[in-house]
Amino acid sequence: MVIQTEGLSFNFGSQTVVNSLSLQVPQGSIYGFLGPNGAGKTTTIKLLLNLLQTQEGSIQLFGLDFKANRKEILSQVGSLIEQPAIYAHLTGRENLMNRAILLQVNEKRVDEMLTLVRLSGAAEKKAGKYSLGMKQRLGIALALLSDPKLLILDEPTNGLDPNGIIEIRELLKNLVTNHGKTVFISSHLLGEIERMATHVGIIHNGKLLFQGDIKDLDSISQPQVLVETDNAVDAANLLTKNSFTVVDVKDDSLSVIYQSKEKTGQINALLNHAGYKVYSIHKVQKDLEKLFLDITQKSA
């Protein structure tokens, strides 16, 4: 395990923000740390990096105890917490150079990072003038600068446009599959985590509701197929007769439990064949709130 916590708890005054959390992050995984805003994600990350003092429970990174191995652990961790920490009066390149001085990384690596996050063209521009997405990319470059074994990223796709999100996703996948890194990434978007994570932990009100392989999550999250059609009620009846599970029928649309791509194709063919007009058909994820409800109800 790259990250392992046991009974980790943290209180701000009388409020419990993190409640006996036991994380298990295996090596070579992209661990999606999922939870709504205020669930305790950032607090957990700050505890992992020892920015907040652990009050209860234990944390091990790379199998080492933090207190006794602070320097050794931190030299293998790159992190991006909340909004990226960037000196606005320095250029993008100078921000990286400053970190390179501290980490004793050579200048070549700085240029590589700028290319990697596509900021070479804006390298000499003041970082304060960067757009949110550019700042986020610079933050990722800073986290990657020392070539760490573990990347801890707190909502790294915040403020990125769809292209940027895809790029970050591909970059992280590439780091894990081709360079043997481990990524711990927090998000409040289920869809985003599902697209890249290999493992998932779901946190709500400071408690870990679910932890495990991404495939195990599918059984809980149960995506659906949303079909827009001209006669939803009759179409729903037809699908039910053909042993599809219809979960919701509205005036102009119906929802069916998602099974596979092929099955989705069959739904389309079936409806077309019976003369129903299909205006749209696509897979939808359950939103996070609903997922939490399901999990809490299941565990209760």
Binding site: I81, A88, H89, L90, N98
Partner: protein
């Protein structure tokens, strides 16, 4: 130790383009330039003075402005600017998650503020000497060249440096703990005014207030000793106020480290 020097190097790298850094150079330059222009324009008024008195006039003008009044305010500003660079960029969390001991990060920043203050006061001495000699060349009736004030000035500014360390350490800690501008500045100014009043009213225990130390340092620098030749000035560096300043500095510096060690980074 390596972490300390890397941090110190980074402090210079990231602040070299800020007002905080440049004010440490510009303050002595501008102040002494103005005083020099005044001397140049009113050269006739000063021309009858013997060289030593001329130097005392010249250096005294700068010292009166800088020593008592400007120095505490400058130190308050300096301590703020060194820390605010991290508050503004929200970079404390990255500084304290680097593979560098917290002790190194903290002490490097502190030492950097110390070095900036030292540089400023050294520049005050150097510019005073340089502009004085330049005035002597431009206005030969001002006989600056006939007396050497270098050693005296270096001693005076070194004494001021030591006297300002108490304020620096307190202000450094306040600026580190509070991210906003007003709290450390406000507290600093109030304490400074208390210092001014206590010195003005010649309170017996004024030497216990760090914010009064620069003023007291100037007052106490020339000892009342008899039997010295009239053209020699002796500077007493280690006076009561300087010792108190050094003690405050040592205590607050160490206390600050323990506070930083325990502090959570929000």
């Amino acid at each position: 130790m390596k972490g300390f020097f890397l941090s110190l190097q980074s402090e210079f790298y990231k602040s070299r383009k800020t007002l905080g850094f440049w004010s440490a150079i510009l303050l002595p330059l501008i102040l002494i330039l103005f005083v020099s222009i005044g001397f140049y324009l009113h050269a006739d008024k000063f021309a009858h003075n013997p060289p030593m008195v001329l130097w005392l006039f010249f250096a005294g003008l700068v010292l009166n402005i800088m020593g008592g009044l400007l120095l505490p305010i400058f130190v308050i500003f300096l301590a703020y600017s060194v820390n605010s660079i991290e508050h503004k960029a929200d970079t404390w969390k990255t500084l304290f998650s680097l593979p560098i001991a917290k002790w190194s990060v903290y002490s490097a920043k502190f030492v950097y503020a110390l070095l900036l203050l030292f540089m400023t006061l050294l520049l005050f001495a150097i510019f005073t000497i340089g502009f004085g000699d330049l005035l002597g060349l431009l206005q030969p009736k001002l006989k600056f060249g006939d007396y050497h004030a270098e050693w005296m000035l270096l001693q005076i500014y070194f004494k001021l440096f030591l006297a300002a360390l108490g304020i620096l350490s307190i202000q450094f800690l306040l600026s580190l703990l509070w991210s906003d501008f007003l709290k450390p500045m406000g507290i600093g100014f109030v304490l400074f005014i208390i210092g001014v009043i206590s010195v003005g009213s010649e309170w017996t225990y004024a030497y216990l207030i760090p914010y009064a130390h620069p003023m007291l340092a100037l007052k106490s620098m020339i000892p009342h000793r008899k039997g010295l030749p009239p053209d020699r000035i002796v500077i007493d560096i280690f006076t009561q106020d300087v010792f108190v300043s050094l003690a405050v500095f040592a205590v607050v510096f160490v206390a600050g480290f323990f506070i930083v060690q325990k502090k959570s980074v929000k």
